[in-house]
Symmetry: C2
Subunit: 257 residues, 2 copies
Amino acid sequence: MTVVSLQNISQSVCNECPVRKISLCDHVDNDTRTEMCRLLRTATFSRGQSIIMQGDTATTLGVVTSGVVKTVFMTEDGDTQVLGLLFPGDIVGRAFEAEMRFSYEAATDATLCTFNRRTFENLMSRSTSLEHGYLMTTLAQMDAMRSWTCLLRGRTARQRVAAYLLFRSATEDTADAYVETIGDRLVLNLRLSRVDLASLLDMTPETFCRCLHSLADQGAVHVCAPHLIEVLDDARLRDLAGPSLEGLVEDPQRAVG
Amino acid sequence: MTVVSLQNISQSVCNECPVRKISLCDHVDNDTRTEMCRLLRTATFSRGQSIIMQGDTATTLGVVTSGVVKTVFMTEDGDTQVLGLLFPGDIVGRAFEAEMRFSYEAATDATLCTFNRRTFENLMSRSTSLEHGYLMTTLAQMDAMRSWTCLLRGRTARQRVAAYLLFRSATEDTADAYVETIGDRLVLNLRLSRVDLASLLDMTPETFCRCLHSLADQGAVHVCAPHLIEVLDDARLRDLAGPSLEGLVEDPQRAVG
DNA sequence: GTGTAGAATTGTGCGCGATCAAAGCCTACC
DNA sequence: GGTAGGCTTTGATCGCGCACAATTCTACAC
């Protein structure tokens, strides 16, 4: 794990933590939190940087506090595919397993609250509330993965792009600011590159681009800038996204894949 | 939840349980297991029967003890897609959430060891080892889901079929007998219908059929009967399945999707 | 302003896989 | 034994989405 900036944090950091209420920490009792504050390190990663490498023996486990982290799988012939995204509050890494089957990379500039994996596991064995919090977060993450699967499968490329835009616009008001205001209009900030987004949605960047502009031609969205998308007609976009998005897009879930 | 056969079970059942060592029970301490034996009910489902319905408020949580269970998502326009499969030892249902976003259905005749969800949650809050077991199983299931995603994505239809056959032949020696012996040869029993398998692999039954016979034309497999597939040339099949199957197919993981 | 590298967009042909249609096959039930 | 209905297989056609390449746009340094 490459740590760019590393510093000790006083216990007060947890009190002003932006993701405390939406992460595993929400379940943790006071004694455990005090202990965690003593053990945690914050780490900053710049866009594109690797957090945990596929194949490595992971010694770290963390919680995203800002930015977007992508999970990336690299095939033996060097191709990479974006499996999913992690947002603030989601867990990076995996307890009780050292060897990583895929990588975690910063998809945007991101900050994490990290722990030594062994230390964290040890603390879990002593703190029921921490293990419970980890379980709850994991279950939520699994729900999100399953919803994501439903969202991708049986949809054409354009429907997937439309569905993703809806998903993003539905989570606009969570933790981080994914939406920018230009004048008085609400505009989505994709924040990820075309290459990453295309890989995430299982298509080529070219197809992604075509689909986006096809949605624009239909009057559903307006491409203000390559990464800034304004949703002009929510109903139209929902229509173009295909059936059964209700419940998949509108839930307060964060992680995908 | 439709329970076909329901009966009380004496404590001795756990001792001869076929999935005890590969399920959450493996982590549970003796006191908790005694309690669990008192609370559990076994249920039998015949192929095609619904175990938990999408949209229902689930009161049940269970462990697959034999057979294959499929997770199915139904779109609002009535289409269904198979999201994944659960094998013996996997968990059916979800603790701490009542409303089901998808259905669980018996893909073959199947038996489950079931609990009242509330009772199970209650027991977890009192038994650290049970919650730990649930966490470990959930993490393993999430790993499997991610592997499954890697297996499906970026592959052609024929590669997906080949990959699935490899996955099944690699798990041949787990819990249930997925393999039949015809004479002295080892033959895979698909056990699922073409329609289910095609849906699971995100293609039409027609395409699945074509791909299977294409693999046969290449000499990789032999279709003994619609549901009985003999793997003739493992290396050839691996070749036709595309890159990076190592680690995805060969792990002792059960659940997919 | 200018240069340059990287990202994003557009163009074109083609193969894969979906769709529709129909025939074979197996099983269950009468 | 016969028949009906399901599942499986095969055939023909068509459109989506991919590959590859060219072009335009953007960002950032100087």
